[in-house]
Amino acid sequence: MKRKQLHAYVFTFPSLFLTLVLGIYPIFWALRYMFFAYPGYGTPQFVGLDNFFRVARDAQFWQSVQNTFVYAAGKLVLTIPLSLILAVILNRALRGRHLLRAVYFLPTIFSASVMSIVFYIVFNSYNGILNQYLMKLGLASSPIDWLGAGNAMLTVIIIAVWGAVGNYMLLFLAGLQSIPDDVYEAASLDGVNPLQRLWHITIPMLGPVLQMVIMLAITVSLKGYESIMVLTEGGPFGKTEVMYLYLYKLFFPLTSEGSSVQNIGYGSAVGFTTALIVGLVTMIYFWISRKLNETY
């Protein structure tokens, strides 16, 4: 028993060490500046809770929080059902299913930044490929401003869904394969149709996997900003600014802003607040979804 425990400690040590050094330490490094004014040079000046008062009245930050919820909700509402349906279809003895699984999974391994550049070419309104097709097919009379103020959020959600569906499909597939075949066989003997099968057998039996996948999807969506940074830089005028992009810019001003003055003190306070928001949402989700975790 002792030997087994030793093995467990030895094997968990590398990841524990890396988490501590690369995950926990930087968080504390940044968090200590929450109570300081610090532009990245000079002596940090203690300002007490001023940074948090500023977070409370920072309309731009709260707008970015609101945008984040719209973005995350849009992404989840589309991604989860789509990836579940794909998983169910590709879990059947379908010819070419391995190839299809690989194709759907491909977006997951592409760099979000590179794909955002490709999507910029597809969606931009002045010579984007999408508009050219829509106009050729007579579906649009003039170019649609996909990345303009009115549509930008929808466009970044579509791109996020494209990037995420394959990943969650794979997780669902793993879950589906743990459902014993005899349950389905018994159901088919009882004359259950495919929709009933999905609703009354597959989804309930996927409960714990579903709970975990949705939890992952929520946290990833709330924290996502990379593709938005490349595609719109949070624009037009803040319409797609999500909270982690807002935070990123405080620590690393974008080259296009023409300044390299960091805002580490205020950024740390914003970072703490965003972490609190993500943590709170996750906890609420766990409480609401506790029934899903009941195994059948």
Partner: protein, 472 residues
């Protein structure tokens, strides 16, 4: 079984590919890291060379500069080998990360002079240079531009001269004979160009509104030429913000948007896609700087007949000078242990022959008297419109960057861009709100000692007229 084998091989190949991609990134880091090692790494030691890394964000002159770097590597007698790296849009983030991880290059193009010095990134240059060399630059040295507290950290080189760039073919097609002198004319011309060219997808005006510079490029140029006191929304005389200096140009851009004279999608346009559209004859006018001739000669070759002119103002009469972006070109890494070698390379880049070649090839227009005296007219198409006029000048530094870290609410560039794109706000109220917030932020920055820029009652932009070139 064979299928499984194939899958396994595929997976391993994929992993290998991913690892290669990661390690190539690592190599880039090592290039910088090696410079920190002091001995110059094993390769360098074996060859007895001092290897230094040089980072730049300039793309328009990269071939020319690479040739000059190669020539330096081949000819210098100090056994110095320079590796030049051109970083594009994320230059600033790359530099920040490189310094944070102790992998910064030995010599680098400066992006934000004051902040780089305050962060301790740059080495003082005074100790390296002799009086004769320094004497060549005396007339273009200024506090917060290339000096801090009287110590020199960088030297100027070329200046960005800002102009209205226009497509002469589209102007002709719309029955227009020359560039607009006033903002009203610019609005009217944009409308006429759109009416004449819309069927072929050509529009009157564009700017790269994907980020702040969509506003700042036209606004800073028009704003400075229209004002005797202010730049970057800051009144240099009074030491307070006065963003009302942009009211006229913002209204003009809003009008062009309302008229439908602006290229569709300008909201998300970056500068290179804008240039690509201009090169295809889809844009009548935009405002940018003197890199454009090289851009249209190398990066986006074009058949379009284009020219550059002094930007318009509300009255058509200049009150100040169009700002010239110059002052700090290169800096030497304060943490490098090869500063001597880096300085020798820097001195080489300031050699008269090299700078004259650079200017004559049209890659940039110098602000250095010794270059301008020796260089002949640049040979590149379109450069004529960018040559210094009596209405170009170097402004003193403003406290904008540091003010914006203390600013609560929208930045002026975002607030004005939103107004240009959507309207529906009271522009005077917007300006009053900006002034209040910016002045409050400036007060906080001053109270914390983050800036030493104060009111300068003697400043006059009109007095800068004819400082870089005499009136014709």
């Amino acid at each position: 079984m064979a299928k499984k084998q194939w899958l396994k091989t595929g997976t391993v190949a994929l992993l290998a590919l991913a690892l290669t991609a990661c390690s190539s990134g690592g190599n880039n880091g090592n290039a910088g890291g090696q410079n920190e090692s002091g001995s110059g790494g094993t390769n360098a030691a074996a060859e007895g060379k001092t290897k230094i890394a040089y980072w730049t964000m300039d793309r328009h002159d990269m071939d020319f500069m690479q040739d000059k770097v190669d020539a330096f590597n081949a000819e210098n007698e100090d056994n110095i080998e320079v590796e030049m790296t051109v970083l594009a849009d994320n230059y600033n983030q790359a530099v920040e990360v490189a310094y944070a991880s102790n992998q910064a290059p030995d010599i680098l193009r400066i992006f934000d002079f004051v902040t780089y010095v305050k962060k301790g990134y740059l080495a003082e240059l005074d100790g390296f240079m002799d009086d004769e060399f320094r004497g060549k630059f005396e007339s273009v040295l200024a506090e917060n531009v290339n000096m801090i507290d009287g110590k020199l950290y960088s030297l100027p080189n070329t200046g960005q001269y800002w102009r209205l760039i226009y497509n002469k073919d589209l102007f002709e097609q719309a029955g227009l004979s020359g560039p607009p002198q006033t903002l009203d004319e610019m609005v009217e011309y944009a409308k006429k160009i759109t009416e004449a060219g819309k069927a072929e997808g050509a529009y009157g005006f564009a700017s790269n509104f994907k980020n702040n510079s969509g506003f700042t490029r036209p606004a800073y140029a028009v704003g400075t030429l229209s004002s005797d006191t202010s730049h970057e929304g800051y009144n240099i005389q009074s030491g307070q913000y006065d963003t009302g200096m942009y009211k006229d140009v913002v209204q003009a851009m809003r009008q062009m948007k309302e008229d439908g004279s602006m290229l569709p999608g300008a909201e998300t346009l970056d500068i290179d896609p804008l240039r690509a559209q201009f090169a295809q004859g889809k844009i009548g006018m935009y405002v940018n700087h003197s890199s454009e001739p090289a851009v249209y000669a190398n990066q986006f070759p074009t058949e379009v007949d284009w020219a550059a002119a002094v930007v318009p103002t509300a009255s058509g009469e200049p009150a100040g000078v169009t700002w010239v972006n110059a002052g700090a070109y290169l800096g030497i890494n304060a943490h490098s242990d090869k500063q001597e070698a880096a300085y020798k390379f820097m001195e080489y880049l300031y050699g008269e022959e090299l700078r004259v070649d650079y200017q004559e090839a049209g890659y940039g227009i110098s602000v250095l008297p010794y270059v301008n005296e020796a260089a002949g007219a640049p040979e590149i198409a379109g450069i004529e419109g960018f040559l210094p006029t009596a209405y170009d000048g170097l402004y003193p530094a403003t406290p904008l960057s540091i003010t914006e870290t203390k600013l609560e609410g929208l930045k002026m560039s975002d607030a004005f861009t939103r107004y240009i794109m959507t309207g529906g706000e009271d522009l005077d109220a917007l300006i009053a709100d900006l002034d209040t917030r910016y002045n409050k932020a400036l007060e906080a920055a001053r109270a914390e000692g983050l800036t030493n820029i104060e009111a300068n009652p003697d400043f006059s932009a009109a007095a800068l007229q004819s400082s870089l070139a005499s009136a014709q």
